[in-house]
Amino acid sequence: MPREHYLNATYGIRSWLLTTDHKRIAMLYLVSVTFFFFIGGAFATMIRIHLLTPTGLLVTPETYNKLFTMHGVAMIFFFLIPSIPAVLGNFLLPIMIGAKDLAFPKINLLSWYIYLIGGGFVLYSFSTGGLDTGWTFYTPLSSVYSNSAVTPAVIGVFINGFSSILTGLNFIVTVHTMRAPGMTWFRMPLFVWAQYATSIIFILGTPVIAITLLLAGMERMFHLGFFNPALGGDPILFQHLFWFYSHPAVYIMILPAMGVISEIIPTFARKPIFGYSFIAGSSIAIAVIGFFVWAHHMFLTGQSTYSALAFSLLSYLVAIPSAVKVFNWTSTLYKGSISYDTPMLYALGFIGLFLIGGLTGLFLACLGLDIHIHDTYFVVAHFHYIMVGGAVMGYVGGLHFWWPKITGKLYPEFLARVAAVILFIGFNLTFFPQFLLGYLGMPRRYSSYPPEFQVLNVMSTAGASILALGYLLPMIYLTWSMRYGKVAGRNPWPATGLEWQTDSPPPTENFDVTPEVTWEPYDYENRPDLGLAIEGAPTHAHGDD
């Protein structure tokens, strides 16, 4: 391990709380998003236990409504949306393009504090009466009828939005102006492309939710009438404004994870990614098309049939670039040299689960079908497959992949592989029954349900206990490895990105000498420095293409 690196370069709490080093800021985010993951996870645990019996085992309906609302708010705004961009993106983006830091390091730190302040307001809301409007805050329930702590929650999410906006701004500008010599756009790692696409959504979408929540909050505080029909307003207008951001938000949650997968697969197949430009382009396509599908959440609000047709068509269109990615990742495995390391297990698990989540999106985009499955557990299962089976697996997989770089240590490989499998199995056991529940008609956000739905609910809860184990194990052994893990060295896998050419952990300045890039990404063939190609010995197991 290097003697001086970003973790030990300076000491003391001030050096952390006032840092402008993107790597330290990433670590600050790691701690805070993990905290919110626990909070959201605690609510989820209570939800699943409560749903063991048809009349509800644990809590009153009021409390249950608060549980699922707070689970959603905590997980979406304070865990999923920041997770990969603010932890892995912050840490890796400058290094991957050969820069010393992001374009605006102080704004980066400001982002974290804004996140904390927003989180503070939301925690205040949770602990002083809770929030029971659903994370979607539909009016007039949220702006007029709810008796819960809506206003602080809305303020908290509003403030948190600026954290996203500033992070997105930082990433975009950094990618444009801070690349090292020779790092052209098409030599950038796909993870960077993914962050760039995500950042476009950050800056264009988040302001709209900000203004929407501002208006809803004002309506609640001052009894105004934007969305309240009794005062001449339109509740459907709220939904349009809300979903204009919140649909692209789901792409904020999945695109970075896709970026992680695009790094892991070539590394553990030891070959270039199949269709680099298509994967890069599909990230941008998803970000752009994703802005035009929002009203597929509103097919049954009574909107015009024509607009429903348009949004259904566009929703099918946005599925295509995602499909392209899945095909390309799978093709990368063909004639690869595949190792079964933990990050690869997460990546493959991601593909399988994202596949199911994405295919079930086709069901929901189908207007005729949506009539039946809208607002049922089918939707809940669909988005958990993508958010948890996709985004969270991408995040945890990415944490494992870059853990040696971030901490300089290796985690215990066998235990990690076991945990990955446990996670995959637990996840499917938890959420697959929910597709069936939804198809059979069980509505979502129900604290009690007809008895015929109990068996599937019990199965889902049983699966959740296994899923929980799958999350706890990495938290334990990753923490353990920071002290007791084996030293990793610069490039344990080995992988081809710039980040693997510097020390583990990296020095504060990232590079001793600014790199000059002359090679294509994922180019194992022309990288003798990786120590892989041996003179005279067969390097390809399956014959040249």
Partner: protein
């Protein structure tokens, strides 16, 4: 459903199988081994963009056809008014018979539900019929279905609406037409006929002072107006459906009939959804009354002014 399931299964299984197969077949056999560098293939990329796109279009088209049909109720329907409020459902049969958390309908008949909310957004959903529709405060939504089998079927509220959202459900009872007729007349005592209730309101709320039926009042006659096209002051026309009637009561200045002054006061906050429904029923009953030559808001048939 089956179609999309099959396509999904096909792709899902195929890709998973490919991944599993490659995972085992191409596993690393010695530590420094590389994979074969294949950068891409335009034909494959084109294929797997075009084929899924075409398949997606078929899924879209099929769903669109079903949906468009669902959004356009047939002409001759049995109309039932349904009001959702936290946390119960009130249904009103055409005779005025009211039900709470129950809905009785005859088998084999097209049934249209006109949905209104007294407070927040709800959703009326009958999984067995594969139908649902949001119930939004501020305007009416409609949904229709044709029950094909006698029996009792769950209905649920399917849009989160607060504390007792999960308790806001009930049963749809589908009966043979004769049983339905018997039930309807048998239980009708003590239930006010909505047309009569509406007629009483029309007088009590003083509508009758301006909306004279012979057209000589300050407001247009309402004979024959339900379902007709009304000519507005700005030259446009609008169909006088339930939504138009409701808007005219709550926000009369929104659409002024051609040739009339904006004198009508708003009844916002002074009427429940039920009262509005009763007035609507009464106005519907005037459909067959003679339309006066002048003093009606109905647009001329040939478009001549």
């Amino acid at each position: 459903m089956v179609y999309i399931t099959l396509i999904s299964l096909f792709f899902g299984v195929a890709i998973t199988a490919a991944i599993v197969y490659f995972f085992f077949k191409y596993r690393r056999t010695h530590p420094e081994q590389l994979g074969v560098p294949i950068h891409g293939d335009m034909r494959l990329e084109t294929a797997w963009i075009v084929v899924p796109a075409l398949l997606a279009m078929t899924m879209f088209a099929w769903g669109a056809v079903v949906y468009v049909d669902y959004r356009r109720a047939p002409i001759d329907t049995l109309d039932i008014y349904v009001i959702g409020k936290q946390w119960m459902w009130k249904a009103q049969q055409p005779t005025g018979l009211k039900e709470i958390n129950e809905l009785h309908v005859p088998v084999g008949r097209d049934v249209k539900l006109i949905l209104a909310s007294e407070d927040v957004i709800h959703d009326f959903s009958v999984p067995a019929f594969r139908v649902k529709m949001d119930v939004v405060p501020g305007h009416y939504n409609t949904m229709w279905f044709r029950p094909t089998k006698v029996g009792r079927y769950h209905f649920f509220c399917s849009q989160y609406c607060g504390t007792n959202h999960s308790l806001m459900g009930g049963w749809v009872t589908v009966m043979e037409p004769t049983d339905y007729a018997a039930w309807l007349s048998g239980a009708s005592e003590g239930n006010e006929n909505p047309v009569l209730a509406g007629e009483k309101l029309f007088a009590d709320k003083a509508c009758i002072t301006c909306h004279l039926s012979d057209g000589r009042g300050r407001a247009p006659s309402l004979n024959g107006v339900y379902g007709a096209k009304v000519l507005l002051a700005d030259g446009s026309t609008v169909t006088a459906d339930e939504g138009y009637i409701r808007e005219s009561i709550l926000d009369p200045k929104a659409k002024i009939v051609a040739g009339y002054q904006p004198l009508m006061p708003s009844f916002q906050g002074q009427m429940t959804e039920e009262q509005i429904l009763n007035l609507t029923a009464y106005i519907k009953s005037l459909q067959s009354q003679p339309v006066p030559a002048t003093g009606s808001g109905i647009a001329p048939a040939t478009g001549k002014k």
